[in-house]
Subunit: 242 residues, 2 copies
Amino acid sequence: MPYGTKSLATVERYALENAEFLASIGIKMLVVACNTASALALPAIRSHIGIDVVGVIGPGGRKAVEVTKCERPNIAVIATEATVASNAYAESIRRACENASIYQAACPLFVPLAEEGWTNEPETNSIAEKYLSGVRDFKPDALVLGCTHYPILRDVIQKTVGENVRLIDSGEATAEEVERILGQKGLMNPNVVSGDRSLCDDLDHFYVTDAADRFARVAERFLGAKPSKLEAIEIFGKDALK
Amino acid sequence: MPYGTKSLATVERYALENAEFLASIGIKMLVVACNTASALALPAIRSHIGIDVVGVIGPGGRKAVEVTKCERPNIAVIATEATVASNAYAESIRRACENASIYQAACPLFVPLAEEGWTNEPETNSIAEKYLSGVRDFKPDALVLGCTHYPILRDVIQKTVGENVRLIDSGEATAEEVERILGQKGLMNPNVVSGDRSLCDDLDHFYVTDAADRFARVAERFLGAKPSKLEAIEIFGKDALK
């Protein structure tokens, strides 16, 4: 990481290598939880992996249409440069509602601001004003937070675009879709109670490809606690592209 | 890139792969112009490459000592997380002057701010105030700009730490060292007039390992003009570590 400034070919290669590693340890479903990897690499991953693969773009886009009831909605998307350039969110939203007006903006500084944990600093407010002035002028009904890191800055973003704009967390929308698919296919783990984090903590297993210490520190901002089971692995020069 | 948030092993691997590629096209000297790669990977590169290898840490550290005359100087260093953690600048400065007092600070947002080209925005001033308050309290005689991107923010940094602090651009210090070594070894190109950029433009040849369009756009901020000869190459899964 970051994926948001890399080319299609590189994002695809990294995403495929990661996906093949995860498939090799015996998972029942793969969630591509990175918006940039979802936007650029989902077809490649699906054609290489023999299990269900869920990205965050489809669920996020559909959710935005759902909450705005699809009556000529204005839907804004903020994401990385690569995700915006891919147009994947616009396509996902149009598939769900062809009348939607769409506005996209890249917010490159939001990722490093979230990683610094600057959720409430005046600088973050001021940068949000700059990045989101176009979004505000567009008067969106919903705004998709199209990058894993942006929900960390949710309060600043909501304040900047106005309280009446519905924020869509693609991660939440994806979790709902995962629950639905697992239920349909009878793949749900009967021992896990929905919403009970304490049980999940025992089941979580994090694999990181680099800088495990840094990951643990940054992940705490997202999870509310240090990742319990964290394992450094090496994925490079593998034959993922065969 | 960015290298500043990656582990020693990963920075070393990338730097070695890049160095071996450059050595393979027949260069007479290698300048490792990235501070993080210089801090972490110089010994590995030197042991793999049969030509002169110059990093930016040594020249930058020595220059800081030189301009402060080494009378118990206070020398501050700002750099990436990885460069600060490596302690390479502190070691380089102490080798040149064992009486030096040293203060180091990581400034993670400076790289993305420089890439956005926000050299004169109020947000950049305000972030510089936050990052550099410790530097200012330290009352440095010299401040080393220990990351390729920081000279882009030179004016903001100078204003924040005060006009009496001597800013050290490691890139400039390294260029002086390169000129000296080439001269000593009789390797200077007699056709290039020092300081004549127009001639250099014809000689420059940029190889990029990813996202060439993005590189061209960002490089313009550093070079003052788009890179003239830009070539995308693939370096991965090579046998650099053998």
